[in-house]
């Protein structure tokens, strides 16, 4: 029997809906009068909040999807399954939002479909575009599994099930590629992006950080969701996930240092300039401190500890992306940019959509697996995902 769709309206949700409505109005103005009307973007700052935050950070934050997918479905760490669906959901929503943000942001939006037919394959953006488009499709298909389960359309779910394994694998390759390409977009900005961030392997830093961000996101999300839905946070899962993050961050730090030294720009980090200070904050506050926190069991094993460290990691990735998009480009681009209220509003509206959609889906779809089933599901699911055995409903 299919339950009725339900969505409880609370005051917070009303506010979120209002924000969405406002966003829609701003969007209409933007489409009729152009970007100059609603944004503070300018010739110095062709990319602003929407690209910098909604797209670059959004996609990175949605990295939780592919890292958990990798851990759960490819490495078959079944115990993490309870969080996999949530991660997939946020990730999918994140991508959809990023794509909508992109549509808002591109000037000649009526041409948005052109790149499908006109292949500028020498552009990094080409790779980003295709990967993101494909991956969003893959995610929707992946999510289709859950959707079909919810609507109890088992024959269809079965069909989809056959495609699941390749979909999952493609669904990991694609983000690997585009998470790195998002960074590689800046490879052309040689002599423009400050050398503390510019690197031929900026793509590695992007994909690597998007990956280690995943567990942190899951931790935070899990904690928040648990709070919201009055369950106990899955602390043990978080704790063991942090080990992934810990090791990956150590690698990140080492590679970063080697890269800087190799390019002979290491000393720039200490010359006292604005860029060097921002870089140091990024590395110390958002990389080294979380590493230490994760490494110390006394902190790691506490909920506050693991959550704090995760928040640092998340903010750190955002901080890094902002440094690339803004701090590192400032000198060469000149001029000024601070997002207009309208830009903020669109971003807020967009994230409100995300939250609302998340809430709606969580409340209507089998996303958050019941604790009592977790273990069991973990085993069966881990064993059966390829065969698409329905689980955990």
């Amino acid at each position: 029997m299919q339950r009725a769709w339900s969505f409880k309206l609370t005051p917070t949700r009303y506010i979120l809906i209002a924000l969405v409505a406002l966003m829609i109005i701003v969007a209409i103005v933007r489409f009729i009068f152009g970007l100059g009307m609603v944004t503070n973007l300018n010739d110095h700052w062709p990319w602003g909040l929407w690209i910098g935050f909604d797209l670059l950070c959004g996609i990175a934050l949605a990295g939780g999807g592919f890292s958990t997918a990798l851990i759960v479905h490819v490495l078959h760490r079944g115990k993490y399954l309870p969080i996999a669906r949530a991660a997939l959901l946020t990730s999918m929503l994140g991508y959809v939002i990023a794509l909508v943000a992109l549509l808002f942001d591109i000037g000649r939006w009526i041409n948005f479909w052109r790149p499908f037919f006109y292949w500028g394959y020498h552009s990094v953006l080409f790779e980003v575009f295709w990967c993101i488009a494909l991956y969003t499709t893959v995610q929707i298909l992946e999510f289709g599994d859950i959707f079909l389960e919810r609507v109890k359309s088992f024959p269809l779910k079965k069909v989809l099930g056959y495609a699941m394994t390749p979909l999952l694998i493609v669904g990991i390759i694609l983000p690997t590629l585009h998470q790195s390409s998002l960074g590689q977009l800046y490879v052309v900005a040689v002599d423009k992006l400050h050398p503390l961030w510019w690197s031929m392997i900026i793509g590695f830093f992007f994909v690597w950080s998007a990956f280690f961000l995943g567990p942190a996101m899951v931790t935070l999300e899990g904690t928040l969701a648990a709070r919201a839905y009055k369950r106990t946070p899955e602390l043990p899962i978080f704790q063991s996930l942090t080990k992934v993050t810990l090791w990956m961050m150590i690698v990140y730090l080492i590679v970063k240092i080697i890269d800087l030294v190799y390019r002979g720009v290491f000393s720039l980090a200490f010359n006292g300039s604005f860029e060097s200070n921002m870089f140091l904050i990024e590395m110390i506050v958002f990389v080294i401190i979380p590493i230490i926190m994760y490494a110390i069991p006394a902190i790691r094993t506490k909920l506050w500890g693991v959550v704090t460290a995760s928040v640092l990691v998340i903010v750190g990735v955002i901080f890094n992306r902002m440094n690339v998009v803004f701090t590192g480009m400032a000198t060469q681009m000149g001029g000024h940019y601070f997002p207009s209220p309208w830009e903020w509003l669109v971003t807020l509206g967009m994230w409100s959509v995300l939250i609302l959609a998340y809430l709606f889906i969580v409340e209507n779809f089998p996303i958050l697996i019941k604790e009592e089933h977790a273990k069991e599901v973990a085993v069966t699911h881990g064993a059966s995902v390829g065969k698409s055995v329905p689980s955990g409903a």
Partner: protein, 275 residues
């Protein structure tokens, strides 16, 4: 034969006929401006100002040097804008100009993502922020005039000989000759090597960095940078795909056996695979 323009900063006296000629030929409206202390309004390039003469007043040892530097698209030999554009809207023509196809050839594929603006090392392409469906705008090297065998409008208007249009190779030769003949010149032709070379070349008698040029920049064409990272894509796709598939089947079996393995092994495996 590819054309170019040699800009000799020592000759320019800042009359800005070129600036007006550009607007006139290309039918670009004036933009509102306000008082500008350095006199070089409009203050910067934008969609409605494709070229601009920058006034650089340099005071050193109680001596003033006032230099006027016409700036516009450099028409790179291997343009970053072209390589950045995933709809191939910017192209380098064999005659020299780097053109924007949506306006130049009415081939409108541009989505307005502005990645070209991020990519251009000289910050040249500009966006019609005030339009609902904006185009990118920049100097087009008077592509239409070149096809008619004419020199660009700005060059035609220049009274000082600061702008010289011709075969790029010949211009380079002339530039070298001018440098050799007159010790006042900085011994550098800006644009000869920068980012793999540009169709517009500059000579100056004051160090280029004092008149707003980025110096010490890469001599490697920017497209090569992105190519160097992009060319790995297929390998990553196939390789990473293979690893993932292998891992998938391997760990699936293991998972069936030890459902609750410790995470550390997985991390180690991953580390190994990565390397």
């Amino acid at each position: 034969m590819p054309k170019g323009v040699l800009v000799d900063v020592t000759r320019c006296f800042g009359c800005r006929s070129c600036q007006v000629a550009c607007k006139q030929w290309n039918d670009i409206p004036a933009t509102p401006t306000t008082f500008n202390n350095s006199w070089d309004n409009p203050p910067e390039l934008n969609a409605y100002n494709w070229t601009r003469v920058e006034y650089h007043l340099i005071e050193k040892d109680n001596q003033i040097k006032w230099r006027f530097v016409k700036r516009q698209c450099m028409h790179c030999e291997e343009p970053a804008c072209e390589s950045a554009c995933f709809t191939h809207s910017f192209v380098k023509t064999k005659e020299g100009p780097v053109i924007y196809k949506p306006t130049e050839l009415k081939q409108d594929f541009c989505v307005g993502c502005r990645y070209c603006m991020i990519a251009c090392p000289f910050n040249i392409p500009k966006f019609e922020w005030d339009k609902a469906l904006p185009f990118l705008r920049k100097c087009r090297f008077c592509n239409d005039r070149l096809h008619e065998g004419l020199e660009p409008a700005c060059v035609a208007a220049c009274p000082s000989g600061a702008l010289k249009f011709g075969e790029k190779e010949e211009l380079l030769a002339e530039a070298r000759q001018r440098i050799d003949a007159n010790p006042a010149y900085i011994k550098h032709i800006y644009g000869e090597k920068e980012y793999g070379g540009t169709s517009w070349l500059y000579l100056s008698d004051v160090p280029f960095e004092e008149i707003g040029f980025k110096t010490g920049v890469s001599e490697k064409p920017i497209p090569l940078y992105s190519w160097e990272v992009l060319r790995w894509t297929p390998y990553i796709f196939v390789g990473w795909g293979a690893i993932l598939t292998a891992l998938y089947f391997y760990t699936k079996r293991r998972a069936e056996v030890h459902a609750e393995e410790d995470m550390y092994t997985a991390v180690e495996t991953m580390e190994e695979e990565k390397k």
